[in-house]
C-alpha cells in the first residue's frame, strides 16, 4: 500500500459491497452489507474503512446525488422489490449485492460524483450517524427554502401565462436535443423487450432442465421393467438426462446474473436518463421564465426612471435581484446541458463495454453448455452402438 503522500502514487478510490447478512424478522427483515473503501485520497479518513449499510442507505446516497448533480446520469439502483424481500432467496441476495457493488463503483469512478461529500459520508460515517442522515431526508418537510421559492414561481408563471393568454412552448427544441430525447425514449422500449425475452430465456433453461430430469427418472423406471440390454441402456440414458438437467439449471443462473441483469441495468440507466431529461426541462423552463420576468422588470424600471417616479429605488433592487436569480438559473441550466453532453459520451462508451462483456459471457456460457451437453450424450454412443449391432 503506497503512502498517500508519495508524489508518484495515483489517486484512487475503490469500494466494494460484500457479505450480505439477513437481519430482523418478518416484515421488518432487511439485509445489511459490508462496504469496504480503499483509497489514498486526502479527504478520506485513511487507506481503508469498513462500514455496514442497508438498501435504504444506498437510496439516500442516490437521492442526494440526484439533487446536487443535476445533469449527471446518476447510476441506477436495483428495484426496491417489496415482494421478493420476503423470499430473500440466496440468488436474490447475491444479485442485489452485485448490483449495489456496481452502483458504488460507478459513483467512485465518476469524475464529478466521486468528489461528493455525501459519498464520503456514505462510505465512512458510522452506522448511527448514517441512520440519522437517512431519517432526515424524507418527505417535503425537508425541502430547502429555495425549493419553496421554486414551487411558488412555478405557480406564478402558470398564472401569468394564463393571464397573458400565451401558451408559450417552454421547451428546448434544438434538433440535436430532439434527436437525443427520441433516441432515449425509443431505446427504452427496445431494451425492455430484449430484457423480457432474456428473462423468459432463463425460465426456458429451467423448464428444459426440469423436463429432462423428469424424463430421466421416467426412463429409468422403464428400464427397470425391461430385460437386458435395454434395461441398462435406459438406466444410463436416464442418468445422463439427469446430468444434462443439472447443467441447464446452472446455466440458467448464469444467464440470469450475467446477461439478463445487465440488460435490466441498461433499462434502469435509460430510465435514469429520462429523469435527467425531465430535470433539464424544468431547469430550461426556469431559465426562460426568469429571463422573461427579468426583461419585464427591466422595462418597468426604465419606465419608472423616465417618469422619475419615487418607486425607482425599489424597482431597481427588485430588478437586480431578479437578474441575479435569472443568471443563476441560466448557469444551472447550462451546467446541466454541459454535464449531459459529457455524460452521453460516457454512457454510450460504458454501455458498449458493459454489454460487450455481457454478450461475450452469454455466448461463452451457451457454447460451454452446448459442449457439455454434447459430451454427456456422446458418452452413451459406444454402448448404444455395441448393443444395437449385437
Amino acid at each position: 500500500m503506497q503512502s498517500p503522500r508519495s508524489p508518484s502514487s495515483q489517486p484512487y478510490l475503490s469500494a466494494s459491497v460484500t457479505d450480505p447478512v439477513k437481519l430482523g424478522n418478518g416484515v421488518q427483515a432487511y439485509i445489511s452489507y459490508r462496504v469496504i473503501t480503499k483509497t489514498n485520497l486526502p479527504e478520506y479518513q485513511g487507506p481503508e474503512k469498513i462500514v455496514i449499510r442497508r438498501y435504504s442507505d444506498f437510496v439516500w446516497l442516490r437521492d442526494r446525488l440526484l439533487d446536487k448533480y443535476k445533469g449527471v446520469f446518476v447510476p441506477p439502483l436495483p428495484e426496491k422489490s417489496a415482494v421478493e424481500k420476503f423470499r430473500f432467496s440466496a440468488e436474490f441476495i447475491e444479485m442485489r449485492r452485485a448490483a449495489l457493488d456496481i452502483f458504488v463503483n460507478r459513483i467512485a469512478s465518476h469524475p464529478e460524483l466521486q468528489q461528493s461529500e455525501d459519498l464520503r459520508t456514505f462510505l465512512q460515517a458510522d452506522e448511527e450517524t448514517m441512520e440519522r442522515f437517512r431519517f432526515q431526508e424524507t418527505g417535503i418537510f425537508n425541502k430547502k427554502p429555495a425549493d419553496f421559492m421554486q414551487m411558488f414561481r412555478d405557480v406564478q408563471s402558470k398564472v401569468s401565462d394564463a393571464v397573458l393568454g400565451k401558451e408559450k412552448p417552454v421547451e428546448e427544441t434544438t434538433p440535436e436535443y430532439e434527436k437525443l430525447k427520441h433516441y432515449i425514449f425509443e431505446l427504452e422500449n427496445h431494451l425492455a423487450e430484449a430484457q423480457k425475452h432474456a428473462y423468459r430465456l432463463v425460465k426456458r433453461h429451467r423448464e428444459l432442465g426440469q423436463s429432462l430430469l423428469d424424463f430421466g427418472k421416467a426412463v429409468k423406471l422403464l428400464g427397470a421393467c425391461e430385460g437386458e440390454p435395454t434395461g441398462k441402456l435406459f438406466s444410463d440414458l436416464g442418468t445422463k438426462s439427469e446430468l444434462v438437467s443439472i447443467k441447464l439449471q446452472k446455466e440458467a443462473q448464469q444467464v440470469l446474473m450475467n446477461f439478463e441483469e445487465p440488460l435490466k441495468d441498461y433499462v434502469r440507466y435509460v430510465q435514469s436518463i429520462k429523469a435527467t431529461i425531465a430535470e433539464r426541462a424544468t431547469a430550461f423552463k426556469q431559465h426562460c421564465e426568469l429571463a422573461e420576468t427579468t426583461k419585464l422588470k427591466e422595462i418597468n424600471l426604465d419606465k419608472l426612471m423616465l417618469t422619475r417616479s419615487d418607486k425607482v429605488g425599489e424597482a431597481e433592487i427588485e430588478y437586480r435581484e431578479m437578474k441575479a436569480e435569472s443568471e443563476e438559473a441560466t448557469i444551472r441550466f447550462e451546467r446541466i446541458v454541459k454535464r449531459m453532453n459529457e455524460e452521453i459520451v460516457r454512457f454510450q462508451e460504458q454501455k458498449t463495454e458493459e454489454m460487450g462483456v455481457a454478450f461475450h459471457q452469454f455466448a461463452k456460457g451457451q457454447a460451454r453448455l452446448a459442449n457439455g451437453i454434447a459430451d454427456a450424450w456422446r458418452a452413451l454412443l459406444p454402448k448404444l452402438e455395441a448393443a444395437s449391432s449385437a
Partner: protein
Amino acid sequence: MMGSENADGFEETNLNAAKEEMENLALNGGDVNGDSSNSAYRSAMSTLSNVHDPLSPLPTVLTPADSDPLTAPSSYIEPPSYADVIFSPFDETSDSEINGGEDSSLSPDSLSRSPSSSSSDYIKITVSNPQKEQETSNSIVGGNTYITYQITTRTNLPDFGVSESSVRRRFRDVVTLADRLAESYRGFCIPPRPDKSVVESQVMQKQEFVEQRRVALEKYLRRLSAHPVIRKSDELKVFLQVQGKLPLPMSTDVASRMLDGAVKLPKQLFGEGGASAVPVHEVVQPARGGRDLLRLFKELRQSVSNDWGGSKPAVVEEDKEFLEKKEKMLDLEQQIINSSQQAESLVKAQQDMGETMGELGLAFIKLTKFENEEAVFNSQRTRATDMKNLATAAVKASRFYRELNSQTVKHLDTLHEYLGMMMAVQGAFADRSSALLTVQTLLSELSSLQARAEKLEAASSKVFGGDKSRIRKIEELKEAIKVTEDAKNVAIREYERIKDNNRSEVERLDGERRADFMNMMKGFVVNQVGYAEKISNVWAKAAEETSQYDREKQSS
C-alpha cells in the same frame, strides 16, 4: 400466425419496423412467434411438416453463412443441409427412414427399426381424400351422410396378387375389419383400432376431426400390415382390395343377437334335441352378449366359483409364468405411459427454448437496426455490431433447437406407438383368459352331467327292468355328456392354440420392442449430440466475435 401469448410484446409499430427482418428470418414460414396450438406434439409436428420433407428442397433461400440479415433483404442465414443434420456414421436407421420417404409427413412409417425381414418385402398403405357420401335410402328425407376415405395399397407381397390397389372405405368398415380380426386371431397381439370418438366427432371442427381420423386410420392400417401374421390375413386383403361394399360380415347389432339367444335358450335349458343346440365350433368363440346368454350365465357362474374356490375344475391357471408375465406387462405399460408423458413435456420444453431464443434474437436485430440508424457516436456503431453478432447466433441456435425438436418427436414417438401395442398385448391375454374360462365351464358342466348320470344309474339299477322314463333320461344325459365332451376337447385345443399364439406373439413383441427402443435411444442420443455440437459452434463463433470483451483474465 402470431401466438397470442406473444402479442403483448409485438405491437404493430414494432412489427412494421422490423418487418423486413421478420420476412427474411422466416423461420418455418413466418411462424416466428410460435403456434398457438395446444399440444406440443402437434406444434412440433407442424414444424416437422413445414421444415422437413427431406426429399424436397428446404423452404428458405440458402446464402453464405455470414450474410448480413439487415443489408441483404432477400438473403437469410444459412440453414444446415439435411444431410448435414443426419450426420454420424452410427445413424443408419434414420437414413433408411429418409430413403423410405414420407408422403404423409405426420405419421412415421410403422416403427423405426430397420426391417427385420428381407428388404424386398414391401407394403405401403396410404389413407387420403376424405369425401362425403350419402346412404341410399327409400325415405323421402334421404339417408345419413358419412365420410369415406381412399385407401391405397402398394405392395410386392405375393399374397396380394396386384401390386397396387385403391378402395373407398368408411369408418364402420374399419370397425368390422377389427372385429373380424379379433375373432380370427385370438391370442395374437392385434394393434388396436382407432376410437369411435363419438364425443369428439360432435365437438371438434369437422375438418379437423376428419383429418385426425384419417391420420389414425393410416397409422392403424400400417400397423396391421407390419404384423407378420395379420398382414397375410384374408380379412385385411379383402379390406384393402375388394372394390365396392366390404364383403365381411358386419358385427350384428344387439337386438338380433338377443333374438338369436332367446330362440336357442329353451333348447339349451332342457337339453333337447340330439343335435347340440349350440354348434360345437361356436364354443371356440367367447360368449358374447345376446347370442349366448345361457353360456354367458354359465361362464359367469364358473368364474365366480373359480374366484370363490368352489368346486375345483381340472384346469386352473396355475401357469405362474403367465401370471408373472401379465404382471410385468402391466408394469411395463405403466412405465411406458409415464415415459411418454415426460417425453411430451420434454418436447414442449425444447420447443419453447427454440422459440424464446428466436424472439431474443429478433429483439436484438431490431436494436441493432435502431442503434445504426440513430448512431451519433462510434461506440454506438460498435455496440450495434456486437448486438448483430449476438442476434445472428441466437437466431441460428433457435433454428437448430426447433430442428432438434422435430427429430426428437420422431424418435420419442416410439413410446407413443408402444402404448398401442400394450393394448394389443392385453387383448391377447384377455383372449387366453376367456378361452380358459370356456374350458373350465365345460369341464364343470361335464362333471355335473356325469354326476347326474351316475346318480340316475345307481337309482335305476335298484329297480329291476328299470323305469322307462328314467332310462330315456339316462340316454339323453349320455348324449349330452358326449357332446359336452367333444366341446370340451375343442375348447381345450383352442385354449392351447391361443396359449401358443400368446407365447410366440409376446416373444416376437419383446424382441421388436427391444430393437425399437434401442433404435429410439440411439436416434435420440445421436440427435442430441449432433445438434448440441451445431449450437455450440454457433455460440463459439459469437464468443470469438466478442472476444475483445473477455475479462476473465483480469482481476475482478
